[in-house]
């Protein structure tokens, strides 16, 4: 099996660990049953096939046996009970885990085809790239996610950090993770949510405490262009006088839309379009000009800007650090 960044058998957080342990137990049990029963089947097929030159007499007719039936009822019942108890234990340990006071709280809102992240205690709003602190097993700092949806059903699944949980409108859900390895963890929406379900990708950045705190500090600042008294660039003027502001927010400016991702710190993100493209100058420009080239059917409209305005808006967005 080649290395995969989304392998469910490479857990890096407690819920994923518990599931991994349980899944090994279940897989080994099922594999053992498979080997035993298929060996019996293979033996029957080989041993009891009618041979050439067999007489045409019928074999002995056996109608059943209560002892045998009882045996192959009781043994499966015992196996089922064992599997059930193992499963019940993990369900309780993952779903009913207490929330420690040091836990970080993030509200995740699924949108047709992107993710919104709000950190209510930290006053941060961002999109598509979730930043969470590394959790030291000695002093766990888990992250608890509250899962909401703004439109259709979605599902949050980053295999190495835990199982999936759905985001359903009018039905708040929650899940948690305590990643013990720093780095980037990938995943994607796992509940069909419409045309661009396939490109609703997930990126979770697990950062050591100091790095995470620095990220928090940066996110809490206003971008320079939003500072009171800063000169209004051409790009910003175009941005604020077109439909961009209906959907997007840039803190400290009149742009307060909530339908699309918050762009206040756009340039702090590695990707755009929910992970569908790298956040480069060309891609950003293309995304504004012709979103269907990157993500056909996404809700971002082609803005129909002149080349000049397009360059100016792109340049403005590139100042949002």
């Amino acid at each position: 099996m080649p290395m995969s960044p989304t392998n469910i058998f490479a857990p890096a957080s407690t819920p994923a660990d518990s599931i991994f342990g349980l899944s090994m137990f279940v897989l080994v049990t099922c594999a053992a049953i498979f080997v035993a029963v298929s060996a019996l089947l293979a033996y029957a097929v080989v041993r009891f096939r009618s041979k050439r030159g067999d007489d045409r007499t019928e074999p002995a007719q056996i109608y059943g046996s209560n002892q045998v039936e009882l045996a192959w009822t009781v043994i499966p019942v015992l196996i089922v009970v064992a599997l059930f108890l193992a499963a019940a234990r993990v369900i309780a340990s993952v779903q009913d885990a207490p929330r420690p006071s040091g836990a970080l709280e993030v509200i995740v809102t699924g949108h047709q085809y992107w993710w919104e992240y709000r950190y209510p205690k930290l006053n941060i709003v961002t999109a598509n790239e979730l930043h969470v602190p590394l959790s030291d097993p000695a002093h766990p700092t888990p992250t608890f996610l509250t899962l909401l949806s703004a439109d259709t059903d979605h599902s949050f699944w980053v295999p190495r950090l835990g199982g999936k949980t759905d985001l359903i409108p009018n039905h708040p859900n929650s899940m948690w993770m305590d990643p013990r390895e720093p780095g980037l963890f990938l995943g994607q929406c796992a509940q069909y949510c419409g045309t661009q379900h396939a490109k609703m990708l997930l990126r979770v950045y697990v950062q050591p405490r100091e790095e995470f705190d620095r990220w928090v500090h940066d996110q809490q600042q206003l971008p320079q262009s939003s500072a009171p008294g800063a000169a209004l660039s051409t790009g910003q003027r175009v941005f604020e006088s077109t439909a961009c502001v209906n959907c997007h927010t840039v803190s400290g400016t009149p742009a307060k839309g909530r339908f699309g991702p918050d762009l206040t710190h756009l340039m702090s993100r590695d990707t755009i379009a929910s992970g569908a493209a790298p956040n480069t100058h060309q891609m950003l420009r293309l995304w504004i000009q012709h979103p269907d080239a990157i993500k056909p059917g996404s809700k971002m409209p082609a803005m129909g800007l002149s080349d000049q305005d397009l360059d100016a808006v792109t340049a403005y967005l590139e100042t949002l650090r």
Partner: protein, 556 residues
């Protein structure tokens, strides 16, 4: 017997086409309706197969651009809806229609006109679904098939998210075909309960009749909530209701409950008839009576009851309480016990026999092997925490195809080859039958064995394309290659059907030296099935006839 009925079957063979067509369209004969159901299913099997092939070609490599996301989403919706409602269900009903009256020594179903009505409702449902390609967007555009997925989760089906009429065609098609399904189910129950021939007590019915009785009961219980849900969805979309309209306070989760309280028993609606085929075919080709008949009946009825209490295992990821999740783990796993009993009884039937590997038996052994695997992967999915990973991944897709293709379709192919000589009066080509088996077996395993792996590596279902670098590429390529073998197998199968109809050798009444009543009448059976209603003393009346020195009724 009546001279009239005999005269009818002896009409000249070279009647004009329009007359023959008229006979088929207006028929109330259970055998013709059975064959119509099956023919209908085969036509839709081709449609669903083409949709699957388009999806597999699109997924052959990452970032492929063969079809747009819009088309891909229509393909998986149509594929799922078609295969469940217009291939598997009609196939099951077709065989039940054809076989049940013959096997219980009756002349027809209890309600022949209801039978015809039910078939034509199903056919109308299928036409509704496919008309969406032309009329789906109604006045708004050029047309479009439904693209909400075969379980059509709310609120994607709300008018806000699904404009035009594609969802309406989906709803109407299920509503209408659901009426046909319930009609057939009522008919089967009435037939089996009331029309058994003298001597055939419930305990002496062929297992096929018992299993179809259970199936019919499940259809009534399972399809009704689905029909109710479709009505609610229509009320939401056109009469201002808010059952599932989350923007007005409706509940998306209620739709899931309605759908899956249909959806899970539906799996057993399809697989129990597959068990029925195997329970008839395996004994005949092993030359032994079925092992543990009463236990097989009990296990079937147990599966029927338990299957009504497992639906929410489709919903382990929607955020149910830990208590609810735990309950559904237990109820789901409980089903593994009677299912396991069935597998062991089939094995015990083969044990000590003299197994003849004609095509029906090959497919039945394939069924047994693949159902074992599909059942075990089902156990892995029943473990809720494991399902938090596996649910909605390609592992799940591989699992249910293992059951639906590897078990149900293999058993259906076994049934085709086993009863074709009865229905056509001609033998099929054994060489082509074996070629079909091996091609399909290879194709099936290439596609669905390797499909588990991308799921374990994090690939969710219903994505029209995927990112490179996730370790999914090679597996998807192999999965797509398997399609070629499966398609070739289906072509050989179709060729064999046509060849045997025109060129097959005369089959005679009882080509398999079998034991149930249908083999005592001519092949094909006359319209009235039996000139004299038979009387039976055991579960294997023809065994009793052939072995007067050692009849079954001494032991039952």
């Amino acid at each position: 017997m009546s001279a009239n009925t005999i005269a009818l079957t002896e009409l000249p063979v070279s009647r004009p086409f329009t007359l023959r067509l008229h006979e088929w369209v207006t028929t109330v004969d259970h055998k013709r309706l059975g064959m119509l159901y099956i023919l209908f299913a085969l036509v839709f099997l081709i449609a669903g197969g083409i949709e699957a092939t388009i999806m597999r070609l699109q997924l052959i490599r990452p970032h492929n651009n063969l079809v747009s996301p819009q088309v891909f989403n229509q393909m998986f919706t149509m594929h799922g809806t078609t295969m469940i409602f217009f291939v598997a269900m009609p196939l099951v009903f077709g065989f039940a229609n054809y076989l049940v009256p013959l096997m219980i020594g009756a002349r027809d179903m209890a309600f022949p006109r209801l039978n015809a009505f039910s078939f034509w409702m199903t056919a109308l449902g299928g036409l509704f679904l496919y008309f969406s390609f032309l009329g789906g967007d109604g006045l708004y555009g050029a047309g479009g098939a439904p693209d909400v997925g075969w379980f059509a989760y709310a609120p994607l089906t709300a008018r806000t998210f699904s404009v035009g009429h594609s969802t309406d065609f989906w709803t109407l098609s299920l509503l209408v075909s659901g009426i046909g399904s319930v009609g057939t189910a009522i008919n089967l129950i009435a037939t089996i309960v009331c029309m058994r021939c003298p001597g055939m007590t419930l305990g002496k019915m062929p297992l096929l009749a018992w299993l179809n009785l259970t199936m019919a009961g499940l259809v009534i219980l399972a399809v009704s909530p689905l029909t109710a849900a479709q009505l609610m969805l229509l009320i939401d979309r056109y009469l201002g209701g808010h059952f599932f309209d989350t923007q007005a306070g409706g509940s998306a989760v209620i739709w899931m409950h309605f759908f899956w309280i249909f959806g899970h028993p539906e799996v057993y609606v399809l697989v129990i008839p597959a068990f029925a085929f195997s329970s008839e075919i395996i004994p005949v080709f092993s030359r032994k009576a079925i092992f543990g008949y009463p236990v097989m009946v009990l296990a079937t009825v147990a599966i029927g009851f338990i299957s009504m209490s497992v639906w929410a295992h489709h919903m382990f990821t929607v955020g149910m309480s830990s208590g609810a999740n735990t309950f559904f783990v237990l109820s789901t796993m409980a089903i593994a016990v009677p299912t396991g009993i069935k597998i062991f009884n089939w094995l015990a039937t083969m044990w000590g026999g003299k197994i003849r590997f004609a095509t029906p038996m090959l497919f039945s052994v394939g069924f047994l092997f693949q159902f074992l695997i599909g059942g075990l992967t089902g156990v892995t999915l029943a473990v809720a925490p494991f399902d938090w990973h596996l649910g909605n991944s390609y592992y799940l897709v591989a699992h249910f195809h293992y059951v639906i293709v590897g078990a149900i379709l293999f058993a259906a192919f076994a049934a085709f080859y086993y009863w074709l000589p009865k229905a056509f009066g001609k033998m099929y080509s054994e060489a082509l039958g074996k070629l079909h088996f091996w091609l399909f077996l290879i194709g099936f395993h290439l596609t669905f064995d390797f499909m588990h792996i991308p799921g374990l590596l994090g690939m969710p279902r219903r994505i029209y394309t995927y990112e490179p670098g996730r370790g999914w590429d090679i597996w998807n390529l192999i999965v797509t290659i398997g399609v070629v073998f499966q398609a070739a197998g289906i072509l050989v199968f179709a060729g064999n059907l046509i060849w045997s109809y025109f060129r097959g050798k005369a089959a005679g009444n009882d080509p398999w030296d079998a034991w149930t009543l249908e083999w005592s009448t001519s092949s094909p059976p006359p319209a009235y099935n039996y000139a004299m209603i038979p009387a039976v003393r055991s579960r294997r009346p023809l065994w009793d006839l052939k072995h007067p020195e050692d009849p079954d009724w001494r032991y039952e």
